[in-house]
């Protein structure tokens, strides 16, 4: 035979099916047997598994977080302090950047090897809680550390799955220097949505050619949700995703207002708008000097300030009858349900927001510390970027609505919203068609969640 033939694809698939039926069976059994299998990321002795006793024996805890390098350095320092205070306590730290963290975590969850302690984000916590991967931390006593109202607000089905680390809030950053230079009135606290759209038009008229006052936020789902909830509508996903509330009137009203801005050329054209990439020095709508405003949070405004030092100021998200924006913790420390050292992990997590030495080491690397006493000690050391972050919080907190996260199962909807609304921006889809498509998908997901 001179030629290697491509025969046997058929045989091959049959062969595979046979192999598979065996494998498939195995897979279902994994669940039971694996809960007792050792997690490979730590090297514990099996006999040492955590006892319910409160007095936690020092062990090696694995811990994982994401962040920029200042956070890594500060956290490593804090871990050292913990080890000094608790002789014998050791850590196996793992730190990554945001993208890598969220790419890796599902794989760790699939192999039941999540770290004992892990940093969590409000955007994802529901997904992980709904699959039973995070330990209930309700019995940790947070009195005097965290405002009880905040704790209540963070509970999912009455239980607390993540210890809040910092205050966060959503606002709008604006280019104060350039707006003043162009003689534009600066945005004022508690501006309404109508004022926001109007300001977008009038400010644009005073700005030089090629510059815009506001973005075309059509493809950002959270902006629409702020509009819907701010104007008295329900959050998009309620009951843990079992109900999907997509208000057609508000949707059409909001997107018609944006369509007006597009028609009046008061927002960047679609091909320029979709090219923006926040926090990219050349691609950021504000840092590139093209747009005068954009959404920013307590946690993210500092990065913007570093790209355009001395030019940034902040205001809150436009408000409706019900309020506007949100002000809440979005970064947490959670404990994995697969951890064998839950008590030690819980003790550590509590220490993390309590200990003054730790607070000093951590500084503002995770935003404004949730513990008022720690924050007070740090206040004199605030830099301009931190002050801006604090201002976003202060300016938003009185009108703020709760933070409505993506419910489990809805990341797909969020991505579809973006692609669909870009169709509207490029004039290829009508607002009504977009509504129908997104509503159908949302209702389908809600039906599946039941």
């Amino acid at each position: 035979m001179k030629r290697i033939r491509f025969k046997g694809l058929g045989i091959l698939s049959i062969a595979l099916m046979v192999v598979l039926s065996a494998c498939g069976g195995n897979n279902n059994n994994n669940k039971a047997s694996e809960s007792s299998a050792p997690a490979s990321s730590s090297t514990p002795k099996a006999s040492e598994s955590a006892s319910p006793s409160a007095d936690a024996k020092p062990v090696e805890l694995s811990i994982m977080w994401w962040g920029p390098d200042a956070r890594h350095e500060a956290t490593l320092k804090a871990l050292d302090i913990y080890s000094q205070q608790h002789p014998g306590a050791k850590f196996k730290p793992e730190y990554l950047a945001w993208d890598a963290f969220w790419q890796k975590l599902p794989t760790l969850a699939a192999s039941k090897s999540m770290t004992d302690v892990l940093q969590m984000d409000a955007a994802y916590i529901q997904e992980y809680v709904s699959k039973g991967l995070l330990e209930d931390l309700s019995d940790i006593d947070l009195t005097g550390l965290v405002d009880p109202a905040v704790v209540e607000n963070l509970k999912i089905d009455g239980k607390l799955y993540g210890i809040p680390l910092s205050q966060n809030a959503q606002g709008v950053a604006f280019n104060k220097a350039e707006l003043e230079a162009a003689g534009v009135d600066l945005p004022q606290k508690d501006w309404t949505w109508d004022q926001y759209f109007e300001w977008g038009k009038s400010a644009k008229a005073k700005l030089p050619e090629g510059k815009y006052a506001v973005n075309d936020t059509s493809n950002l789902w959270d902006w629409y949700q702020w509009y819907q909830t701010g104007n008295g509508g329900k959050p998009l996903m309620t009951d843990g995703g079992k109900t999907f509330n997509f208000d057609k009137d508000l949707f059409v009203k909001y997107h018609s207002a944006l369509a007006d801005l597009r028609a009046a050329k008061a927002v960047p054209p679609a091909d320029q708008q979709t090219a923006f990439l926040e926090n990219d020095p050349a691609g950021d709508p504000m840092a590139s000097g093209v747009v005068m405003t954009r959404g920013a949070t307590t946690g993210s405004v500092g990065a913007l300030e570093q790209l355009m030092p001395g030019k940034v100021d902040v205001v809150n998200i436009p408000v409706g009858s019900a309020g506007g924006g949100w002000a809440q913790s979005t970064i947490f420390l959670s404990v994995s349900t697969h951890s064998k050292y839950k008590d030690q992990a819980k003790a550590f997590v509590e220490w993390f927001i309590t200990d003054p030495q730790a607070g000093e080491a951590l500084g503002l690397t995770r935003g404004i510390p949730i513990n008022p006493e720690i924050y007070k000690a740090l206040e004199p050391t605030l830099e301009q970027k931190d002050k801006l972050g604090k201002k976003v919080y202060d300016i938003s907190v009185d009108k703020a609505l709760p933070f409505y996260p993506i419910a489990a199962g809805y990341t797909e909807w969020v991505d579809t919203y973006k692609a669909t609304m870009e169709g509207v921006m490029f004039g290829k889809t009508s607002i009504e068609d977009a509504y129908d498509k997104l509503n159908k998908l949302g209702q389908d997901i809600a039906a599946k969640t039941k």
């Binding site: 046997g8 730290p93 990554l96 950047a97 794989t107 192999s111 990219d280 990065a303």
Partner: protein, 277 residues
């Protein structure tokens, strides 16, 4: 041959073409010397080059290690990958290209099939597998696959090259009493040298780039590769652009040097050694 005579027109064409190809790299060098606010300016070169981007980037503050440590890690891994890949791919390819055995066609189809299934759906089961054998946070899951034939791409590549070698050579050796192993070692192996160099270079470059497996399998910082360290610069909001671009540019250099040193072997292939047939 006339091609050996240097011709100015050809030089000119090559110079223009090469510059066109590397123009974006020149932009990259410029950008790596800029401050973040300067980066949205259209100028290629910064007014005052920030060489600290290189020194600070090299020190890599999130860990006690400098990039030197990550380069050492990566190179160590690469040595294993390249040796494993080149040797085993050649052996397997010879089997497929020159030997006749039962189900050869079947196994070759399977080999190609492993290339067609996107890795995204096998990586999690594979992770679970390695995790069960406690090989995570080590280089084993990254190096080991290279010792099993180096992957279907390279096996297929070498099969094609071996099939391009006249069989008269094998035949002559057989008559001289050489075994299959003798044919492989003394005839085929030397003749596919250009292809083996290609395999070596590609293994090197592609393992260097294989971020997704590295991020899954390596978790402690002291085991980090260059690629992993680089990604640390890009967080959700805060990106240290200058340092990131500087280190990313440096990270390409080893591959470029390896390529530069190895590429002359394409020229010395069979063509200059000649076939004494």
């Amino acid at each position: 041959m006339n091609a050996l005579r240097p011709r100015w027109s050809r030089h000119l064409a090559l110079i223009v073409f090469s510059l066109l190809m590397v123009y974006p790299i020149i932009w990259w060098l410029g950008a790596s010397l800029k401050t973040a606010p300067e980066m949205n300016l259209p100028t290629i070169w910064p007014s005052t080059p920030i060489w600290e981007n290189y020194s600070a980037g090299w020190d890599f503050s999130p860990s006690p290690h400098t990039f030197a440590h990550f380069y050492a890690n990566t190179l160590l891994m690469e040595v294993g990958n390249v040796i494993g890949g080149v040797v085993t791919a050649a052996i397997v390819a010879f089997g497929f290209a020159r030997l006749k055995f039962k189900f050869r066609g079947f196994w070759f189809s399977i080999l190609l099939m492993t290339l067609m299934l996107p890795g995204q759906v096998t990586i999690v089961p594979q992770y679970i597998l390695f995790n069960r054998f406690e090989f995570t946070d080590s280089y084993v899951p990254l190096i080991l696959p290279h010792f099993f034939g180096g992957g279907a791409f390279f096996i297929f590549l070498l099969v094609q090259f071996i099939r391009g070698i006249p069989k008269d050579l094998d035949e002559a050796a057989t008559i001289d009493g050489a075994s299959v192993y003798g044919i492989f070692l003394r005839i085929i192996f030397p003749l596919i040298k250009p292809a083996l160099v290609t395999v070596a270079i590609f293994t090197f470059i592609w393992s260097w780039d294989d971020f997704f497996s590295q991020v899954l399998y390596l978790s402690s910082v002291d085991k980090f590769t260059v690629g992993l360290a680089l990604r640390m610069y890009i967080d959700q909001f805060e990106v240290q652009w200058g340092q990131m671009l500087a280190m990313a540019l440096l990270s390409v250099l080893p591959s470029a040097v390896i390529f530069f040193l190895a590429q002359k072997h394409f020229v010395e292939g069979i063509a200059t050694t000649g076939i004494k047939g």
